[in-house]
């Protein structure tokens, strides 16, 4: 009897052991069902990004209008594109615009962030003020700057008038039209770089500055040796974001100058818009879009690789 009890206990405990030995599910194992977690994102990524990208490339090799996609034309759209002087001019205009805006946005944003990185009420007010323009739509921004730039009775013309001078013809001069658009764009976009820099500056531990103070560093030495290297990554990020954004200039040019005078302020996106949606030459519009895509890619990659290399050195 006693033996029976013992053996039943042994049997029970060995069953319990067997149950414990069952391999636990390895939650890190690669399993297809895990893909469900990223499926919603993957769906939108594919339908909104990958598919249009491939379709755009496919379209750029076809003759296409609003009635449908016609025959395959090979690289004919690209040949037509690069023999179009207006397209080449719009590429040049866009590069000029990027050169006008990105360095100013990157440096002015840094300057504002450095100046306003303090815990005073006036700094908080100014931070909000400089960021507030970012929330405006392009329509409002261009309206404001048209009021400033418009000849004869604009704000600028009025101020020049007080000194008896003729105001500069920002919107109608071939030399100044792109500069006018750049000024409006910088005013509109300065908030984001400033905020990115501010968040980077606030992540630098205060003790490093205290150590630098004990190390006899003056303000310039502190800035150059402590602050700048600490925000290097943010600087690269700001330049990358701005290069990508400013290459896509459209609204400001469309609303302030209509690309004029004489196409001197026409950017690539506006060229694409004119070709695809005014002349309904969708194939050539798609080809121009692909050129813009490659240009942005090259600029962003070059920027990234150059700064990374320098950082490693």
């Amino acid at each position: 009897m006693a033996e029976a009890v013992v053996s039943s206990q042994v049997g029970r405990s060995s069953r319990a052991l067997t149950a414990q030995k069952a391999p636990p599910a390895n939650i890190n194992a690669s399993q297809w069902r895990n893909a469900l977690f990223i499926a919603p994102y993957l769906f939108f990524f594919a339908t909104m990004l990958v598919f249009p990208l491939i379709w755009g490339i496919w379209l750029s090799f076809h003759k296409a209008d609003t009635f449908g996609v016609g025959k395959f034309v090979g690289i004919a759209n690209y040949v037509r594109l690069f023999s179009d002087k207006i397209f080449l001019q719009s590429v040049g205009n866009t590069f000029y615009f990027v050169l006008l805006t990105v360095p100013v946005l990157a440096l002015l944003g840094l300057f504002l962030a450095l100046a306003l990185n303090r815990q005073t009420r006036s700094a908080a007010f100014l931070r909000a003020a400089f960021f507030s323009s970012s929330v405006l739509s392009v329509t409002i921004v261009t309206l404001i700057w048209r009021i400033v730039f418009i000849p004869d009775f604009g704000l600028l013309a009025t101020i020049y008038g007080w000194f008896g001078l003729p105001g500069p013809a920002f919107l109608s001069s071939p030399d100044l039209s792109m500069i006018a658009i750049a000024i409006a764009t910088i005013w509109w976009c300065i908030g984001l770089p400033m905020m990115l820099y501010l968040s980077a500056l606030q992540q630098i531990p205060g003790e490093i500055y205290e150590a630098a103070a004990l190390d006899n560093a003056n303000r310039w030495q502190t800035f150059r040796s402590i602050t700048l290297p600490s925000i290097k990554r943010t600087f690269i990020l700001v330049v990358l974001i701005q290069v990508v954004m400013q290459f896509q200039l459209f609204g400001q040019a469309r609303l302030m100058t209509q690309g004029g005078p004489n196409n001197t302020s026409k950017p690539i996106v506006m060229y694409i818009y004119d070709v695809a949606f005014k002349r309904w030459d969708l194939g050539m519009g798609a080809a121009a879009s692909e050129v813009l895509f490659v240009l942005i890619l090259i600029a962003a990659m070059a920027q990234f690789l150059l700064t990374r290399k320098r950082g490693e050195n």
């Binding site: 630098a212 103070a213 004990l214 190390d215 006899n216 560093a217 040796s225």
Partner: protein, 367 residues
């Protein structure tokens, strides 16, 4: 060149809160001074005031007779090691150490010689080209100390430099710091809340509590003659036993105190200095021994045993309910709930009156 630091009547306020209240202190040349106290007692603030990282609201701080509290931190000729090390993350170890010297225009060959020497002294010579992110906590700590050494300052300030290290490394670094201070002749001020660091490193300890100094003295003075009940509580492990006692008075020689359970203990504290009345008896565990039955002055019931290896701490409850931690040998045979006999060494006790004044045993008085 080493520093004699004189702090006179300094006050520090943050808004309405006073964090240092009319504090004076003199630190001798080449002295290793430790500021010891609990969090928020003002010890780090005092150190930062000496460094120039906090302003002084009242009073003066001077080094070798020259007032420095109005100078910027870099011009005070002092170096500081921060709790978080505060290394420059994008500079190599060598650049971290050289930065302060370059800023004041020291010649490049002098800089490289000093950096190499510090690297050799701290055994980080092979790490000079690495960045702080590639170093372990202990190595970063050495770089931070190296950065201070190369400046050859008049005084070193350490702000809880060991608290970010794990226990084993902390003990090792503590020993190395003790060795370092003999190699580097300079005044050193070390802030800590760890009484073991204070006891092992200091020439003198400043025990601070609640914005003011409780006691200044050598480690053994602080340990054996605590000026206040706070010092007695804060220094020493386990914490000193405190038992309410009565002093009858009318004696000559050592005072006899009566514990709550009626036990009388003859102390070496001069009776004539004491007014009769209620006191608190302070006595460390090492002065209360577990002895053979009937040989002690009192008995207690064992509540808890802590076996530390070389000794055993015996938490006993006396008949009146008061708890005393006694000491026994490592292989103590005592068990929980045993009744044990306790001897009390009357020549190693302290008395505190209700106003926190302390009386200690004196030589020549029989305890």
């Amino acid at each position: 060149m080493t520093a004699h630091i004189e702090i006179k009547d300094v006050v520090k306020r943050f808004g309405a809160a006073t964090v240092i209240d009319h504090l004076s202190l003199s630190i001798d040349p080449n002295e290793f001074m430790v500021f010891l106290g609990p969090s928020g007692c003002g010890k780090s603030t005092l150190l930062r005031m000496i460094a120039g990282l906090e302003s002084v609201d009242e009073g003066t701080i001077s080094i070798n007779g020259q007032r420095i509290d109005n100078l910027p931190p870099g011009q005070r000729d002092i170096a500081m090691v921060f709790q978080s090390y505060a290394l420059y993350p994008h500079m190599t170890v060598a650049d971290n150490m050289a930065f302060g010297l370059r800023n004041i225009g020291v010649a490049a060959d002098v800089i490289s010689a000093r950096v190499a020497e510090a690297g050799r002294m701290l055994e980080i010579g092979h790490l000079l080209e690495r960045k702080p992110g590639q170093l372990s906590g202990g190595q970063r700590q050495r770089v931070a100390i190296g950065r201070a050494i190369v400046k050859e300052p008049k005084a070193f300030l350490f702000d809880e430099p060991l608290s970010n290290l794990d226990a084993a490394l902390r003990v090792r670094t503590r020993v190395e710091l003790a060795q370092l201070r003999h190699r580097v002749k300079s005044t050193m001020i070390f802030v800590t809340h760890d009484q073991i660091e204070a006891m092992t490193l200091a020439d003198r300890i400043v025990v601070m509590n609640n914005r003011k100094i409780e006691q200044i003295g050598t480690p053994m003075e602080i340990y054996s003659r605590p000026a206040t009940r706070f010092v007695a509580t804060f220094v020493g492990s386990p914490t000193m036993n405190f038992v309410p006692v009565r002093v009858a008075g009318g004696e000559t020689g050592g005072a006899t105190v009566t514990l709550g359970d009626g036990t009388q203990v003859k102390t070496a504290i001069p009776a004539m200095k004491l007014d009769p009345g209620n006191f608190t008896l302070g006595i460390r565990a090492e002065a209360v021994r577990v002895v053979a039955d009937g040989q002690g002055v009192t008995t207690g019931t064992v509540d808890v045993l802590e076996r530390l290896g070389e000794r055993t701490l015996v938490y006993t409850k006396l008949k009146d309910g008061s708890v005393i931690v006694a000491e026994d040998i490592g292989y103590s045979r005592v068990a929980v709930n045993d009744t044990v006999s306790l001897s009390i060494d009357g020549s190693r006790v302290h008395l505190f009156d209700t106003s926190d004044r302390a009386w200690h045993c004196e030589e020549g008085i029989n305890g």
